[in-house]
Symmetry: C2
């Protein structure tokens, strides 16, 4: 079988061909320009396979309209990328491909990859956070994405400010949401320099760990997942994960039982392939649904 | 058809008989004493119907073990009600009844009632909070309870303290979880008298509304439900709901679209019948599963 994967991102579209073993057979990265030119290149990549593909999975940047009853279902909404605002991304792809398509958000796709072939392989539930330029999450329970009437926006949950932290929020909407205080840019504002330039022993990493620990606490109590995966650029600071685990145990204070923190809080197993593989699984679902 | 409903609470067990129209045909309230005596009375109530019942639904107080793989599945865990600790509540009921049983937590059962026959009737998703002596919630998406590996404990999500609020938390585990600062006892600690004795125009109600608004914000972004129902004793203060709606719009700050707050944030439609009706729906599910 042959599946297509499209990670539609704000800076690049990563397109790939894979098989039912979730092996990546071919992959290209296409720079995100205006919608028509970008989609044209995407279609050119897939054109030779279009009559062989059994399904295509798409993980898109957002905000994108996921309300099935909406007139703008599958359209990009109020994106900072002005030329994409109102563009019917899913409609354009559905028109091109000759096979069934399943789509979701980029971070849901990455979560789906980890759920099926990464740390969630033997679990019924997983939440995947990407902590980088922004913060987003995908949550899965019994093979379904959490999100009642629309996609979730977990990165904007509220957290309590560290008493010494008076830095401006990087989120234009919220003074103390997770993204506003714990994303890469938020660390940068607090530090007065790029997060990557901070020493490992800088106490700002302790503040960062406390914010992420609040997120893990709320996720534990509100979703009770089997495993929480923390990915994204900020988590590539390897010294951060042990601090997060410690701060989480402190804030939860033994209130609910969970597996040991080492089993429970993980960095991604699939690394940068999570979203590609997640899209292949979506493609497989699309194929099976259409049978 | 004939269904049984058991709301197993820490102070009383409410037992009822109903039909497929979800009409309550008979209902009794049994004081919660030690397990054996209480269960004996429950069984006596149901005994005349035991060979006619098509299914039984149970909504239990907690903490109760909901992990299917656990050896103590269905047992009451570390409850303040010491005599109930380790009691196999679900096991005792399964043994007595001659029909299939479905069970969940008390607040999940109430949420299920509202989802099927209350404010969630035409929705795919609903979250129901009970704000009273404690704070708990049930969340439902596509007819399934949210909760990956165990029941959720949403009442213990973290909130940011109001700058003027230095009162002790009513939660022994967390200084600033929702239950610790916004439950009835928490208001009482802050006020120095019972919450019911506070005047309507007391500014402590504004603080209360801000805490509940943070909860609605986090619920919106983490679960994206179609409707949020706020029940329990504290919400019976009718002046509180408009304050919550206003504070929620302020904290969300237009970040995601949602229905108007009047459509989105509700007090229970089914009132005190929510859990009984939720248990009947569980009973119906148990019957259908067993067919």
């Amino acid at each position: 079988m042959l599946f297509g994967s499209i990670e539609a991102g704000g800076t690049k579209f990563v397109c790939a061909i894979g098989n039912e073993k979730m092996e990546i057979l071919e992959r290209v990265s296409i720079e995100t320009r205006e919608p028509e030119a970008t989609i044209k290149d995407v279609c050119e990549f897939f054109a030779p396979y279009n009559h062989q593909l059994d399904g295509v999975g798409v993980g898109s940047f957002g905000p994108i309209d996921g309300q099935k009853s909406s007139k703008t279902y599958g359209h990009i909404l109020a994106s900072p990328k002005v030329k994409w605002q109102g563009f019917d991304l899913i409609g354009a792809l559905v028109e091109f491909f000759n096979c069934p398509i399943e789509w979701t958000t980029d971070v849901n796709a990455a979560a789906f990859g980890e759920y099926h072939y990464g740390h969630g392989k033997d679990s019924n539930s997983l939440v995947y956070y990407t902590i980088g330029t922004g913060i987003g999450a995908g949550a899965i329970q019994d093979d379904q994405f959490i999100g009642g009437v629309n996609f979730t926006e977990m990165g904007h949950m509220l957290v309590t400010r560290h008493p010494e932290d008076t830095a401006a929020s990087s989120c234009p909407f919220h003074h103390n949401c997770l993204e506003g205080v714990a994303s890469g840019p938020a660390i940068g504002i607090r530090a007065g320099k790029a997060a990557q330039l901070l020493e490992e022993d800088d106490y700002l990493w302790d503040i960062e760990a406390e914010y992420i620990a609040q997120c893990v606490h709320n996720t534990t109590l509100m979703l009770a997942p089997e495993v929480i995966v923390l990915g994204g650029g900020v988590m590539q600071q390897e010294h951060l994960l042990p601090k997060v685990k410690k701060a989480f145990e402190k804030v939860l204070n033994g209130y609910v039982t969970h597996p040991t923190v080492d089993e429970y809080i993980k960095t991604p197993k699939l690394g940068n392939n999570a979203a590609t593989i997640g899209c292949f699984v979506l493609a497989q679902k699309a194929f099976e649904k259409a049978k």
